[in-house]
């Protein structure tokens, strides 16, 4: 018993981890299910049917492609706009700083449903046609703040003397930016871009309000929860999970090797 008492934090922590991971395991296992009815909630028998035909459900892969497309463009837009704001906020003094800071903070401090509903009133009032463009506009808007925060953190921790040194060595402002500032800020920009991609790809609430009849992948899953959940949803969920884990693991191995090489040099 004393062992358990001494390790209570470890036990509690690992239980929490199990709670976090359990649904992912269920999703994975049920991608090999052959459900009896339209809903894939109860286990019946092992089958690889869905894995052999991942696009076998109407509109599923189309919605996936649309989500990837929107996430890509929203990431590009939010990263460019957000990085520019972050540079301005850290590197320059100007009027209305406080207002701009709160303008960037507010979208993150508001329940998504409020932003979703207010955007819809705007689009309805303007008579805009709901679809690809309204989703893209909305995603760019709510990803922007997160990019600003990520890039700001990186640029703030950067030594301004490096830029001064570049200028002392007769680099022009453009050259200084491209060859000194941008490379150092790159990890922050990359982190912001990845966050934006993940947020946009998985967004449901804002898309639910502003998509009209356009079906993104989360919208497809939402619809299928009413009509019947095809096993293929689990296949795609599992495949995305595997790809992301591979990317993270690959990144870890590469950065580990780099560190080793730097040490042995």
């Amino acid at each position: 018993m004393s062992w358990a008492r001494r390790n209570i934090v470890v036990i509690a922590g690992l239980l929490t981890l199990a709670y976090l991971i359990l649904p992912n395991i269920v999703v994975m296992v049920f991608s090999f299910n052959k459900p009896a009815g339209r809903f894939n909630y109860a286990w019946r028998e092992f089958s690889t049917d869905a894995w052999r035909d991942p696009c076998g459900v109407a509109d599923l892969c189309g919605s996936l492609a649309l989500s990837l497309q929107i996430a890509l463009w929203a990431t590009v837009g939010a990263t460019v706009l957000g990085a520019m704001i972050a540079f301005a906020l850290v590197r320059y003094r100007f009027r209305a700083r406080g207002t701009i800071n709160s303008l960037i903070f507010l979208p993150m401090a508001m329940p998504e449903v409020v932003m979703a509903a207010s955007l819809l009133t705007l689009f309805l009032n303007l008579g805009a046609e709901l679809g690809f463009w309204t989703i893209l506009i909305a995603h760019t808007m709510f990803c922007l703040s997160f990019v600003v925060v990520a890039v700001k953190a990186r640029v703030m921790s950067m030594d301004p003397r490096l830029e001064e040194a570049a200028r002392d060595l007769y680099a022009g402002p453009v050259q200084t930016f491209l060859r000194v500032t941008l490379p150092i800020a790159a990890p922050g920009i990359a982190a912001g871009a990845m966050l934006a991609f993940a947020l946009s790809f998985d967004d449901f609430i804002i898309t639910n309000f502003n998509s009209g009849n356009t079906v993104t992948f989360p919208m497809f899953v939402w619809g299928s929860a009413q009509r019947g959940t095809p096993v293929q949803i689990n296949v795609i969920g599992t495949a995305m999970f595997a790809v992301a884990v591979l990317i993270v693991a690959g990144g870890q191995i590469i950065s580990g090797r780099r560190k080793k090489r730097a040490l042995t040099r």
Binding site: L22, P111, M141, F209
Partner: protein, 309 residues
Amino acid sequence: MTVTQAPPLSPAPGGPPAHKTPVRRRLVPYWLLLPGILWLVVFFVLPLVYQASTSVQTGSLEEGFEVTWHFATYWDALSEYYPQFLRSLLYAGTATALCLLLGYPLAYLIAFKAGRWRNLLLVLVIAPFFTSFLIRTLAWKTILADGGPVVEVLGAVGFLDVTSWLGLTEGSRVLATPLAVVTGLTYNFLPFMILPLYTSLERIDPRLHEAAGDLYARPATTFRKVTLPLSMPGVVSGTLLTFIPASGDYVNAQLLGSTDTRMIGNVIQSQFLRVLDYPTAAALSFILMAIVLVTVTVYIRRAGTEDLV
């Protein structure tokens, strides 16, 4: 790890300028800000203005809506839907408390006890995000299925007796009860609690723990007097990152709950997308926004950490 704010390159307004910066250079920050801020003004602020105007309109879908300054909509909306408001705050609050209770040990474990497993554990915390959250929420339908192993065990150990006495479950069911919705909310927002907690715990110098031990503080005292106070920034931002999205969520209530567990998000969604009663929907949305903003402001003031942003 401390982040020090870099001094600005251009002279601060108070400082003595070495030489007058040309107008073009002084305009640089404004050009950098313009496109992004314009985007936020047009697609974040302006929509709120439109929503404010919609909330005081009257009319019908066929004849069109007109601004009549009909503030009674707010009162009607609040008196009709206050149970959903209260339920949302209750569920979101409970989920936030559970996230803190469950997330703290894991963040502590990763920060101080994981050693070489630290990176792996961090990846495992973020890993769920790689699968769409709707699919993962649907997985809870399987986990909490009637007569499934989880529900059987919970029933056998008497857990369900306690929760049904509390009004959280009914009989031997978990699905379609408040317990299922709170479980889903807690699950969905847990990583948003763990990551800020971990960040603030990781900054604590482990030598402070040793020092406390050297001064005869027992582990519990060390935690209460050293670790917990130093991790407060993480606690504050974690609770905000959990509570705010949870209070407006309608996904968990829709997928895991029943008509008796409808949250205010569900009402706003159906008023906007199905009932098409725009004024009521806009008023509800504004009331939710006001409640959340007031709660957050008061909370940040009380917690005394205003430099969160």
